[in-house]
Symmetry: C2
Subunit: 361 residues, 2 copies
DNA sequence: CTGAAAGCGCTTACAG
DNA sequence: CTGAAAGCGCTTACAG
C-alpha cells in the first residue's frame, strides 16, 4: 500500500521512467549510469524522459545497493560557546563542505561535548552505515578515537595531526612551521624573552607548537615561558597578568588563538603597558578580528579552507580505494590542490624589542 | 556476490540475528522495534543477541522502507570568510544539532554561495530523499526559497522569519524586541540622536529591526539615521566615520553585529572620540568578543542555542505530522522549551548622553 | 542490444 | 505467537 506522505509533486522513480520509455528498470539504470549495453536512441530517449520528469536517484536506495552511504562524518567535541568564537572551524568546515559537495557527498555533522561522545558518534555512524568515512579534528596526545577508528577499519583522515599515527591518514596543520615563523619574526625584532599563552596541552597540535617554539627560541638564543589555558579569553587575561608580573618579564607574548590575543591586549592595556612600544603581541590564528582591533594584531595566516578541502579530498580517495571501485558520485573532478603556505601577517601589534629599539635609535 | 569492502569487523544485519536466534527476519524486526506479536522469551533472546553482536539498523535500508531519510537539511548562503566571524551561526547550528541528535536525526549541512544555490540544494535534497525537511535562515524580503519549498511541499521551518509567510512555519528571531531594548536603553540614558549601522536591507530581519528602531525612537521622541552595510568590518568603519561627520552627529551608534561594533569602536577611536564619554556604542549581537574588547560592548543577548533547538523541534514535529505516524527515532523526548527571552547586557561602551550627563552633573 | 531476476537490509501486512 | 512474502528504489550479473 504505497502511501504518499503529504501532498506535493510526485517524485519519480526509475520504474516510472521505465514505464514511460517502454523498457525495463535495468535499462533505465544502465542509461542513467552511462553503462554500455544500450542502443544510442534508447539511451537518449530514457535520458530525455528522466530530464523531463526531473528524476533524481533516491539516495537511500542507491546507498543500500551500492553499500555506500555517500556521506562523511565530522564530530566536533567543542561546546557551542567555544565554537562561536573560533574562526578556525567555520573555515575548515566550509573547505571540507565545498570539496564534498562537488562530489555530491553529504557531510554529517555532530557537535558533542567530549571525545568520548565523539567516539560513540563514530561507532554509531559506522554501524548504521551513515557514513563511508570520517574526519577527526583536535587530535589529542592520547586519543580514544584513533584505536576505535583503526579497530572498525573506518576510513579516517586526521586533520591537524602531528604526524603518522598508526594506520590512519593524517594532515598536519603546519603548526610547527607557523610557530617558527612567529618566533623568527620576533627574534628578528630583537626580542629575547618571548612568552606564550597556549591552548590545552592535551591537544597534539599544542604540543607540536610548543616543541617548535622551543627549538626556534633556542636557535635564536632566546628564551620563553609558557602558560597553558583552556583557550578562553578570561584565562588569557589572567595568564597575561601573571606573565607580566614575573621577574623575567617578556618583551613579547604569543597567543594560541585570536580571541585570547585580543583579551591579552586588553589585559596589557589595563596594566598600563603600551603595545607595541613596550610589549609586542601576536596571535597563532589569524581572523578578521586581528584586523579589526587596535592595535591590529600580527598573526599567523594560512588557507584553512584549502586545507579542509585537501583533507576531505584525501578522505574521498581513501574511501574510493577501500571500495575498490570508483564514483558513486557522478562526475567528480580529480581535485588537485597545492599545499597551502602559511605566512605571517605583520600588523601593528609587534615592533622592535624595547632594548633593541633603544640601541637602534 | 556479497563483496566485503575492506577488512574490519563485520557489521551484523537482522538476517544474522535471525539465524542465531533461529527465527525469521520479521520476528527480529518486531522485537527490535518493540512491536507486539512475540512471546516475551523470544523477544528477550533476540534483543540479547542484537545487543551482543552490536547490531545497529542500516539507515539506508530503514530509510528506504520507511520512506523517510532521518535527516534534515540546512543550507547556508554565506561565504566562508563571513561565516568565520559571525557568532550567530555556530550557536544556532549547535542548538539545532543537539535537538536533532537527541532524536537520532542527522543534520545535512551545505555552505553555498547564494540563495539560488541554496534553492538548488533544497530541490536536490528533496528529490533524492536525502532529507525529510529543511531549515531556512537569513530570509530575504523576496526569497526564492519560499515558493520552492511550498511548491515541493517540503516540510520547512523558517528561522528568524518576520512573520507568517505563506504556508511555511516560521520562528521569529526577536529582532523587534531586541531593537526596542537597545533603543530604550539609550534613550533612557538621554540619547536623542541614535544612528544605526545596519546589515543588508535585503534580509527580512534587517527590515524588522529597522521598523522596530524607528518606532522605538519615535516613541521616545528621538531621531536616528541609518547606513546599510554588507556586515563587513571595513564597511562598518567607513559608515561610522561618515555618520560622525554629519552635521547632525549621533551621540550613540548601534551596530547590527558584534564584529561591526568592534570595527566601529576602532574607527571612533581614530577620530579621537571617547567611548562612552562622548559617544555610546552598542551591538545587536552579543558574543565573547563584546566582553573582550575595551571598552567592553553593550549588546543584545539571547539564547541562540535554545532558539535553534526550538526551531529544530518544530521541524521534527512538522515532519511527524506529515508522515502521519511517529518515531523513526527510537525514544525521542517530547522536548518542551520555554521561549528564550532576549536581554540587553549593559557593559562599558554605553553611558549617559553627553548633554544629559552635563545636566545631571 | 534488451529483459527478467536477485539482491542490498529493513518493515509490514498477511497467512498459518 | 510465528513464518513466508512482498515491497521500498536502486544496481548488476545473467540469460536470451
Amino acid at each position: 500500500m504505497p502511501r504518499r506522505p503529504g501532498p506535493g509533486p510526485r517524485r519519480p522513480t526509475i520504474a516510472d521512467i521505465a514505464e514511460r520509455a517502454g523498457v525495463s528498470k535495468g535499462s533505465v539504470s544502465y542509461a542513467l549510469n552511462g553503462k554500455p549495453g544500450l542502443s544510442e536512441p534508447t539511451r537518449r530517449r530514457i535520458l530525455a524522459i528522466a530530464e523531463e520528469v526531473g528524476w533524481r536517484p533516491n539516495r537511500a536506495a542507491r546507498a543500500l545497493s551500492a553499500r555506500r552511504a555517500g556521506a562523511c562524518g565530522l564530530a566536533l567535541a567543542r561546546p557551542a560557546r567555544l565554537l562561536s568564537y573560533d574562526p578556525f572551524f567555520p573555515r575548515l568546515l566550509s573547505g571540507i563542505e565545498a570539496e564534498l559537495a562537488s562530489r555530491q557527498i553529504a557531510l554529517m555533522l555532530q557537535i558533542v561535548e567530549d571525545v568520548e561522545a565523539e567516539t560513540r558518534a563514530l561507532r554509531r555512524w559506522w554501524a548504521e552505515r551513515r557514513v563511508d568515512g570520517a574526519l577527526l579534528v583536535d587530535l589529542r596526545v592520547v586519543d580514544p578515537r584513533v584505536p576505535v577508528a583503526e579497530q572498525l577499519a573506518l576510513p579516517t583522515v586526521i586533520i591537524g595531526g602531528p604526524g603518522p599515527t598508526g594506520k590512519l591518514l593524517y594532515f598536519p596543520g603546519h603548526d610547527a612551521e607557523r610557530s617558527r615563523q612567529i618566533v623568527d619574526h620576533l627574534t628578528g625584532l630583537g626580542h629575547r624573552r618571548i612568552d606564550r599563552v597556549a591552548g590545552p596541552s592535551v591537544f597534539a597540535h599544542t604540543q607540536e607548537r610548543t616543541k617548535a617554539f622551543r627549538e626556534a627560541l633556542a636557535e635564536a638564543g632566546a628564551k620563553g615561558g609558557l602558560v597553558s589555558t583552556d583557550y578562553s579569553p578570561q584565562a588569557a587575561a589572567v595568564a597575561t597578568k601573571k606573565l607580566l608580573k614575573r621577574s623575567s618579564a617578556p618583551s613579547a607574548i604569543v597567543y594560541d588563538n585570536d580571541i585570547m590575543a585580543v583579551a591579552g591586549l586588553g589585559a596589557v592595556r589595563e596594566e598600563g603597558i603600551a603595545v607595541p612600544e613596550e610589549l609586542s603581541v601576536a596571535s597563532m590564528e589569524d581572523s578578521i578580528l586581528c584586523e579589526v582591533v587596535r592595535p591590529s594584531l600580527t598573526a599567523s595566516a594560512w588557507d584553512v579552507e584549502a586545507f579542509g578541502a585537501r583533507a576531505a579530498h584525501a578522505l574521498v580517495q581513501l574511501i574510493d580505494e577501500r571500495m575498490e571501485h570508483h564514483s558513486l558520485a557522478d562526475g567528480a573532478e580529480p581535485g588537485r590542490y597545492p599545499e597551502e603556505k602559511p605566512a605571517l601577517v605583520v600588523r601593528g601589534s609587534t615592533g622592535w624589542a624595547p632594548r633593541a629599539r633603544a640601541v637602534s635609535a
